[in-house]
Symmetry: C2
Subunit: 130 residues, 2 copies
Amino acid sequence: MRVGDEENMQISEVAQKFGLTQDTLRYYEREGLIGPIAKGDNGIRNYTENDLQRIQFVKCMRAAGLEISFLKRYIQLFDEGDETIKERREILVEQRKILKKKLDDMQEAYDRLNMKIDLYDKNILDKSLM
Amino acid sequence: MRVGDEENMQISEVAQKFGLTQDTLRYYEREGLIGPIAKGDNGIRNYTENDLQRIQFVKCMRAAGLEISFLKRYIQLFDEGDETIKERREILVEQRKILKKKLDDMQEAYDRLNMKIDLYDKNILDKSLM
DNA sequence: ATATCACTTAGAGTTGACTTTAAGTCAATA
DNA sequence: TATTGACTTAAAGTCAACTCTAAGTGATAT
């Protein structure tokens, strides 16, 4: 184990923990979604607890389909401090709206799939209808 | 108006009706998701009621993020007739599972956005947390 | 008749989000 | 000491799903 940084993780461990690839983690950093991650004398990334929290946030939002560009903007504002609070709130509300629409669309498709499967189970299929 | 086909629609009308572009409709057809759409003597597509139902199905599923390749496969099986019923049901169940996972991920992100916005409204922001 | 408009095709280009490649450093083990 | 493994970089490549371009046809309006 590396001495003097028992609490920090390196990229392979972080990738493992979140089910992301190392490439993706470096890509997110390049794009300004996380970090910049501090590096040791050897040039190797050392992820802090705070870094991990941001990655968790990004992962959750990406899993929901929020765009890299939005996350980039939000995190940028976040790091700029308190004077951006109003704008941050606004873009969160905007994203929530987009997400809500997608959730509704997906729920509709989900219900439709359920009904469809139900019809398959009951052997009552309309040959003209998908 | 075109004579003898009052009940059918041409591509611009269909595009309008579903909020898709003409390019997308032709692309879906090329990929085997809909049609092949019958064409008049002039070579222009004439969408039937049945075509519209399939487009509606495809649109719903695509809005939920189901892949073109799955839709292509499903529709292919559908057109092959009754001996594919078992397989069709199986792939529907598989897609439902994928969709459920996405719905859950999105619900999680949605809840998180809601909580976040709530904190912004109450002015209780933790400076270290996204 | 000439221009405009809606359509047609094949094929090339775009976008977002990774993912891979090539070439290299460094530390630990056989 | 040599090789293995984990890391580093910049840049090119990939993939899905469109989206656009170029070149053309055929019907209708001026």
